[in-house]
């Protein structure tokens, strides 16, 4: 499956265009970085790729088909703040199993301890919560992961743990990844190629 964004343009209301004519193709298993100055709309572009936002101009397709509203969306987004992505009134097992049920081997890959499943989100640190958010996004039907500053607020060890787990899955399932980050050295380490959003 190939993810393709063609001639994407976006602006809020009648404001200035954040970007126009952006093209991006991601092949299965490919890891592509997106860089650009802050305020340039990288997060907006990520939301468009993941189907949370309609572009004003252009199209996003999977193998040439538009894929709005067809059940589980094979392009999943994980962003910077896990505490905003998890329901505070659900225990962790409920949040994790909302979409699918990862097995013990996957929990181990992500360093999620059994006991954490019985806790409330407020009883886990940002790094622990982010492991859940990432694993939750990696259901068997996920073909592409959009990682928008996914590990920016985490320490280097937690960051490397999460990325190694994600890369292992990407290799096994031939899953494509789009990495958005301010951290040039992380992009350099992870990506096959990089595009600049201007």
């Amino acid at each position: 499956m190939q993810l393709e964004a063609r001639d994407i343009g976006f602006r809020y209301g009648n404001g200035a265009w954040l970007f126009r004519g952006v093209n991006l193709t991601v092949k299965p298993g490919e890891i592509v970085g997106i860089v650009g100055p802050s305020g340039q709309g990288k997060t907006t572009f990520a939301r468009i790729l993941a189907g949370f936002e309609e572009p004003i101009e252009g199209t996003v397709t999977l193998d040439g088909f538009s894929v709005q509203n067809k059940g589980y969306y094979p392009v999943q987004l994980v962003f910077q703040h896990p505490e905003k992505a998890i329901n505070p009134r659900w225990k962790m097992h409920k949040s994790l199993h909302e979409g699918w049920k990862p097995d013990q081997a996957l929990l181990d890959t992500f360093g999620i301890e059994r006991e954490w499943l019985t806790r409330w989100p407020g009883e886990l640190s940002g790094g622990e919560l982010q492991r859940f958010c990432v694993l939750r996004a990696l259901g068997p039907e996920t073909r592409f992961l959009i990682a928008d500053e996914m590990t920016t607020m985490l320490d280097a060890i937690t960051q490397a743990q999460i990325w190694h787990a994600v890369l292992e899955i990407s290799r096994k399932r031939n899953m494509g990844i789009v990495v958005i980050s301010h951290e040039a050295k992380l992009i350099e380490r992870l990506c096959d190629r990089v595009i600049e959003l201007v």
């Binding site: 280097a156 937690t158 301010h182 951290e183």
Partner: protein, 307 residues
């Protein structure tokens, strides 16, 4: 000369879970740091290791259910809670981690002007906005109209115009472009060079290395090592604590290889060394009690086997 000293700080929260059961969270244990005039101390370490809470403890803005022990001194005199309140924003200023600290109902120009203590507030605010590339019209905006990067520059401006002697900056740089970031970091260096003591909390070790004098490494609510910046090089051979070495080697520009496991939770700390469950050097002695901070080469370390 030490301006601010934190000695044996411990912070705990009691949480009431279902059925009136109590759970105690030891979020900071026996922590010591010293801030000196003219110096920048960078604080790095595990997410959730108590970095922000240390900042909040210094400023006297911890939640009221926090149990605090230990002592702090400011220019040699005890820093009581009343004194913290009196000095906050004047002698000791915080650049907070969350941009939610801006007053949502006050125009940002005015927020910055109210922090100016000497000279013409209008003039000072205009100058600092120009320095951070905030356009004149930003003055009249409310916080919700700012992008994340603009809000951060506003927070930075507030601390800079205050003329404080101690600046505590909690993750001041995420979301800033490389150019603005370089400038912001340069400003911290200037502040230090003009006699301020700066504590810079950051995940960005590269930035820390570019401007700090010393780096304190935090793990599970305490300092495991304080080292001069020059020790953060190569494979981390010069570093003292196994956690500092592991943190350094996990960076994408180094090996990018993480050690296993995660930081112990604050409600279930191990009885001995807090790093023992993950430590490659651990022996049975490490489980017998918390290692003390001790001097080693040009720094300090909390590990009985470090050499």
């Amino acid at each position: 000369m030490p301006i601010l000293e934190v000695k044996n700080l411990s912070v705990a929260f009691t949480q009431y879970t279902t059925g009136f059961k109590q759970k105690s969270h030891q979020v900071i244990s026996d922590l010591n740091v010293t801030l000196e005039a003219g110096k920048i101390l960078a604080v790095v370490g595990a997410s959730g290791s108590g970095k922000s809470l240390l900042a909040h403890a210094i400023l006297g803005v911890l939640p009221t259910n926090a149990k605090v022990s230990g002592s702090m001194t400011y220019v040699g005199e005890e820093l009581t809670h009343a004194r913290k309140i009196a000095l906050r924003g004047k002698e000791i200023a915080l650049v907070p981690q969350s941009v939610n600290y801006l007053d949502p109902l006050m125009k940002v120009g005015k927020q910055v002007r109210t922090s100016v203590r000497t000279g013409d507030p209008k003039e000072a605010q205009k100058n600092v906005f120009e320095r951070y590339h905030l356009k004149p019209e930003v003055e009249g905006m409310y916080p919700f109209e700012l992008s994340g990067g603009m809000a951060r520059r506003t927070l930075l401006s507030t601390a800079i115009v205050s003329g404080a002697k101690v600046i505590i900056a909690d993750e001041p740089t995420p979301g800033l472009d490389p150019t603005v970031m370089k400038e912001a970091l340069g400003n911290f260096r200037e502040l230090a060079d003009s006699g301020c003591a700066v504590m810079l909390i950051t995940h960005d070790i590269d930035s820390a290395l570019s401007i700090a004098d010393e780096i304190a490494v935090f793990y599970a609510g305490t300092t495991v090592e304080i080292a001069p910046v020059t020790d953060f090089t190569g494979k981390g051979e010069a570093l003292r604590h196994p956690y500092s070495k592991a943190l350094w080697r996990a960076l994408p520009q180094n090996d990018f290889i993480p050690i296993k496991g995660s930081q112990p939770h604050s409600s279930a700390l191990p009885p001995g060394c807090l790093f023992e469950p993950r430590c490659p050097w651990a022996t049975s002695d490490c489980r017998k009690g918390r290692p003390e901070m001790r001097e080693l080469r040009d720094g300090t370390v909390r590990c009985i086997h470090a050499t």
